[in-house]
């Protein structure tokens, strides 16, 4: 018999994980960060519960610094799919005017992402949150479980993580504990793009090349999405043909020069690309093993 293709096997695995959580947890939520991984995650969730609607809400933690095109895409997606979309911004961070340009990426990420996520999870009493993290993204994630158990204060304790033989998950937890669940654990960046192409999944237009206003800063091409990106002496935004491999807060996300303006062209570029996707993320370079540290603090 013809073997099932690896994309279909990854798809079946992710659907199994979605159903397992929904069948055993009280109040799941899908963390939606608008990027390509989130697009695939959402697509798989819809498949897992078809023909019914998505039986749980979708949460976007908005730092206030996302690309405008991301926000427009988010709202359009929620409308198109009839999602129960929850948008949460850390009100204290907002009041204090926390931002990546004034407070640095470390403070911004902690207050507007990590703390904001915890607030939102606590506020709604979610006990399982799906995320789009993949093990191939970074060395320290290679050993991350699919089900990551968190203490009532959202901490990740390496010692209490459970073995996951077969696809057999122990989904029991004490009052107040919660899971972060990663259905895309075994996907690679190439798998995500191949699946987007296979299933014609809509993604944010920022992934496709277009002339956009950018400045060179600390070796990265930063898009000037609005005038909050104040120009440093000698800096002048110029129009360049760019696209993004990953999307985050715009001042923290480096663009790549590219002519790939269609999905086919992006796939072709991906295959030839010799640079890992996280290189464009300023957040990873803060300190060695920074992801490991952030995870222990409760960041995804």
């Amino acid at each position: 018999m013809h073997q099932t293709s690896h994309l279909r096997r990854l798809e079946a695995e992710a659907i199994f994980i979605f159903r397992e959580v929904f069948a055993t947890c009280d109040r799941p939520v899908l963390l939606y960060s608008i990027g390509k991984d989130s697009a695939v995650l959402l697509h798989l969730a819809l498949k897992a519960f078809a023909p019914g609607r998505l039986p749980f809400p979708v949460l976007h933690v908005d730092t206030g610094w996302k690309f405008r095109e991301m926000i427009a895409f988010r709202d359009e997606t929620a409308r198109r799919l009839g999602l129960d979309l929850i948008v949460h911004t850390n009100p204290e961070g907002l009041a204090a005017g926390i931002g990546p340009l004034t407070h640095g990426s470390a403070v911004h990420t902690d207050v507007m992402k990590t703390q904001a996520l915890k607030q939102a999870l606590d506020k709604h009493g979610f006990d399982a949150a799906f995320g789009g993290a993949r093990r191939d993204e970074e060395k320290s994630r290679a050993k991350e479980r699919i089900f990551s158990l968190r203490t009532p204060d959202h901490r990740w304790d390496p010692r209490s993580q459970r073995p996951e033989p077969w696809l057999l998950f122990n989904t029991r937890k004490a009052q107040g504990e919660s899971f972060r669940v990663f259905p895309l654990s075994n996907w690679t960046e190439a798998d995500v793009w191949d699946y987007i192409a296979l299933e014609s999944i809509p993604v944010v237009p920022l992934y496709f090349a277009k002339p956009r206003p950018v400045v060179q800063r600390n070796g990265a091409l930063i898009m000037r999405d609005d005038d909050r990106l104040t120009l440093l002496p000698g800096e002048a935004p110029e129009m360049r043909m760019i696209r993004f491999r990953t999307l985050g807060c715009y001042p923290l996300t480096g663009a790549v020069e590219s002519r790939a303006d269609t999905l086919e062209a992006v796939l072709a570029e991906m295959r030839e690309s010799r640079v890992s996707e996280r290189q464009g993320r300023v957040i990873d370079h803060d300190s060695t093993s920074s992801m490991e540290k952030k995870k222990q603090e409760g960041y995804f």
């Binding site: 293709s5 690896h6 994309l7 159903r19 397992e20 929904f22 073995p163 030839e272």
Partner: protein, 534 residues
């Protein structure tokens, strides 16, 4: 011709381009595990495989060049082990030693490699990594040959049912590329693996560091004419469960509105078509498949591995944990399971313990009824034991205390493997594979009248000897009561006190002093082998 030893090392390969002709929709998937201690070159082998298949990006390659110069063990050359060195960093920090997963692909296949540390105390990690593996790659240092560790790793991968094994005899350069050394180790390995039930064993001579026999044949070992490591992992066909009998564990009842009632789950084995007659287990109700929804839409058929939702022709009561099977068959539930258990947690497990068993999509209370023996991790040989500690492997008898449908692992991986969970701390205690399943029938027929409620199975003695002993002692108490008080009431009171009090004391004894920790009053009988399943 130059002697092999003097032939040139492969030049350092440039960072390869990823092959262009990728048709992802047709690419298959193979999962494998690498075993062997750090010194055997396991990380080097995996790192070099990642490198040569183009899974390493330029920025990572630059980091590798920097790290190689600083920490490398191969002079000025790239130390490929540093690409996968996450585990050694952990070891130095003294935190969790774990399974790490690596990903790479060729035009033909995508690969998921489970990378686990090889030391004895990490047996549980190896078993976890091996549980999903289609193939195991076992490294042997050509200078050292087959070691106790080689045997141990082989035992563990065999325990979780890996069928194809690749023995990579590494560091052939350090034994002068001597074919005789290779043949001797090969023969020794084949002899030790005879009892382990592998479907295929492939033995290769390698120099992982230089890439010999990794992705291309080596000019330095012209006597080896077999496949390279990459040839093997690209072509070995995984054991697929599509040929077995159809079983669909119901994961979730999909009921979005009053008009639709579907049963979602991933098909554990076999195939199904619309219109097929089915039975819901363990109850045994019959129905027929009305519709099959797959991730690719409504289909007329589906097979093992697919995450489907099926609807049935009849209004049938089906809940999570039930199993849908093909054909009409009677209901079937499990009396006892004999299984091989590997303890994953810190809690010691002993007969008398109560826990939860999670099998397929069902989670039910279960009792650890007997420990037949512990199995040595070295070669799976039996030895007597009263309990199992972390990383211990044992042959056990478990009794589910609610209806449960199970199968031997050889017959169905999904319905033949399980977790044991602590009902209080929720910790995962053990993983297990089922050898045999016995129905409740034989057990029930030895019980007088109605079977005792499942929650009180200890109150009624199982053997005839025990029952006779209970009757005799209760009569003795009645007689003593009559002699002491001279009344019938006194006799009855003392007998009743005994009849109620003794089971209570037994229960208390079980609770606070589990059977495994006290001297056994009688040898534990070898569990009966009365055929698996239905």
């Amino acid at each position: 011709m130059l002697p092999a030893v003097l032939a040139a090392r492969h030049p350092e390969p440039d960072l390869p381009q990823v092959a262009q002709a990728i048709r992802p929709a047709e690419r298959s998937l193979l999962r494998f595990i690498t075993c062997g201690s750090v010194d055997d070159g396991k990380s080097t082998l995996l790192g070099r495989l990642l490198w040569e298949t183009g899974a390493v990006y330029e920025d990572q390659a630059e980091a590798l060049a920097r790290d190689s110069a600083r920490f490398g063990t191969d002079g000025k050359n790239r130390d490929y082990a540093l690409l996968v060195d996450g585990l050694s960093a952990e070891r130095e920090q003294g935190i969790t030693i774990d399974v790490a997963y690596r990903y790479f692909a060729t035009p033909r296949r995508a690969f998921i490699a489970a990378d686990t540390p090889g030391h004895e105390q990490y047996t549980r990690n190896m078993a976890t990594g091996a549980s999903t593996a289609d193939v195991a790659i076992l490294l042997v240092d050509a200078r050292k040959g087959v070691l106790p560790q080689t045997r141990r790793h082989s035992s563990i991968v065999s325990l979780v049912g890996v069928k194809d094994i690749i023995v990579a005899i590494n560091k052939m350069d350090l034994v002068g590329f001597d074919e005789a050394v290779f043949r001797r180790i090969e023969a020794e390995y084949r002899a030790l693996a005879e009892q382990l039930g592998f479907r295929s064993i492939h033995v290769l001579p390698l120099v992982a560091r230089d890439g010999d026999t990794l992705t291309r044949r080596s000019g330095r070992m012209p006597w080896y004419a077999g496949p390279t490591l990459l040839d093997l992992i690209e072509t070995l066909e995984p054991v697929l469960p599509t040929d077995g009998r159809f079983f669909l564990p119901v994961q979730w009842v999909n009921r979005p509105d009053a008009d639709f009632r579907g049963f979602s789950g991933t098909i554990a084995s076999g195939q199904i078509r619309v219109g097929d007659p089915v039975t819901i287990l363990p109850q045994g109700r019959a129905s027929r498949i009305a519709e099959i929804l797959t991730p690719e839409g409504t289909r007329s058929a589906a097979k093992a591995g697919e995450a489907v939702t099926v609807t049935l022709a009849d209004e049938t009561d089906v809940v999570r944990g039930d199993v849908i099977t093909l054909g009409h068959r009677p209901g079937h539930t499990t009396g006892t399971l004999t299984a091989r258990l590997l303890v994953l947690g810190e809690r010691r497990l002993a007969p008398g313990d109560r826990m939860l068993i999670k099998l397929g999509c069902a989670t039910v209370p279960a009792r650890f009824e007997a420990l037949a023996h512990e199995l040595s991790v070295e070669d799976l040989s039996p030895r007597p034991a009263g309990h199992l500690a972390m990383n211990g492997i044992g042959k056990v008898v478990l009794r589910p205390e609610a209806p449960l449908f199970a199968l031997p692992y050889e017959e169905c991986r999904t319905l033949g493997s399980f977790l044991l969970i602590d009902p209080i701390t929720h910790a995962t205690l053990a993983m297990g594979v089922i050898d045999t399943v016995s129905g409740p029938s034989r057990e029930a027929s030895t019980r007088p009248g109605k079977p005792a409620p499942a929650v009180l199975p200890r109150f009624w003695p199982k053997s005839r000897v025990e029952r006779t002993r209970l009757a005799v002692t209760t009569l003795a108490f009645a007689l003593a009561g009559f002699l002491l008080t001279g009344t019938l009431a006194g006799a009855l009171a003392l007998a009743a006190l005994d009849a109620i009090g003794r089971p209570l004391l037994h229960a208390l004894q079980d609770r606070f002093w589990p059977a495994g920790e006290r001297p056994a009053s009688a040898p534990v009988p070898e569990p009966g082998l009365d055929g698996g399943g239905i």
